[in-house]
């Protein structure tokens, strides 16, 4: 179909570290999920309540490598991409559907630190060295809080 648009814009925090796979052909894929939330007033109780939505994000190739190196649990990110629903077979041979956001733009809104498999902060030296490397392409770290006003 001609003349269509498919665009998703999200800002949210990662619930876990990304899962990164290096495919046999050398292509890299990263998956992670981010939470957004909204507050509303419960009609019955009059109380404020918060609803959290979780969004599955997929990134490919160069962007996946950046995610592998810099994006991790708890960080806030801006994600721009397309909605894609893919089908798969479950164990009972039912067709099931999963909707994901295939991101083609990602900006970190939290200060970046190199991601590690040991997310409990025991960085090996090689990762420390990454700290002094320039950031890859359009993706840059960002200071979110503690501004010196």
């Amino acid at each position: 179909m001609a003349g269509s648009v498919n665009k998703v814009i999200l800002i949210g925090n990662l619930g876990k570290d990304p899962e990164v796979r290096h495919l046999e052909n050398g292509v890299v894929v990263a998956n992670f999920s981010i939470a957004t939330s909204e507050t509303f007033t419960d009609k019955n109780t009059g109380q404020k309540r918060e609803i959290t939505d979780w969004h599955n994000i997929v990134v490919w190739r160069g962007l996946a490598k950046v995610v592998e190196s810099y994006v991790k649990k708890g960080m806030k990110v801006y994600v721009e991409g397309k909605l894609k629903t893919r089908s798969w077979q479950d164990e009972q041979k039912n067709t099931r559907y999963t909707t994901e956001v295939v991101a083609d733009n990602l900006t970190m809104l939290t200060r970046a630190e190199p991601a590690t498999n040991q997310s409990e902060n025991q960085y090996p030296k090689s990762i420390e060295e990454n700290k002094s490397q320039p950031m890859t392409q359009s993706i840059q770290p960002e200071e979110e809080d503690d501004l010196p006003f």
Copy 2:
């Protein structure tokens, strides 16, 4: 969580007429799906191929009434809303998930004609006359209140 954004922007065509339900409390809900597509070149064959994605749209209340009256199969619409994934139980008591776009803004990009139950094109005269009228204006939701999505 503070500081999150959840926004989807789609332009696509309806595959079928919307399904509209009038709930017992008087609230109206409309569901429909729209297709977006993108073309890409198949790496192996060098051929152009088209991938179509289908998106489930939900609209509530006043916007649902407009959909009921004016939006139907084949029309192209602009939809703006939020990504929501809801869980439900299938017959085998498995938890399953469906992702939808809950729209809070909808603009018809095809000239509107009143929707009918006879979507097979037997328009009464008054509707034929509408064909020469200018396109219906942009539609906004009348309220943004505590919705139980």
Copy 3:
């Protein structure tokens, strides 16, 4: 500055045919403006009124060539791009500012017909025939290549 986003999404109709320039270095630039409008109720008179906003669009290179060939006065287009404000000197040597949308994505929402210099509707037959052809496909910037999502 890291972590910034600059995005504009417009759907509107062209007021005039685009102006296209071929620069000495071979680069092509196209300029055109599109109108969006919104209706509101005048507080004093209770009357519905419509406000029209005009937006200056700039497209470069391959996208400008497509605009040159297919986009013309009256067509409805989807435009996605960045806000840019540039300064210039008027005749009295005052610094003045013009804000434009530099588009990197453009989709025709009106059935495309090849643009002509005779925009006053004296279409040669070959263009009339185009009227029955399916809408021209979505136009993407050059860098969107064969991705196997």
Copy 4:
């Protein structure tokens, strides 16, 4: 015109504290500007360069009151709104144009501290105490009514 869309999405930092005016009819308006930037490689020198764009933001009513209380110089914000160009007369009676983003949604991406008139960091004690409070939640406009932009 029917079927139009006018949407701007920005993430950037405020260059100065907002200017807030309380109009005679009680309506509040806030103006501020935010910077976005992008980096690119200079074709001639091969050097990385950064271009900063400044965007004029206007917010009305309830949202302006929140800006008055919480948003200030240096903070990073998400802004969603409409592009509006208004004309005015300069001293030489030339018609000039200014383009602004009239925001209807604003989310602080920096931890909020109450704005003060003394923006030179002489916080009274009560405001220091506020520093330990959680970030203000996402801010929505309380109404979308007949605005005289």
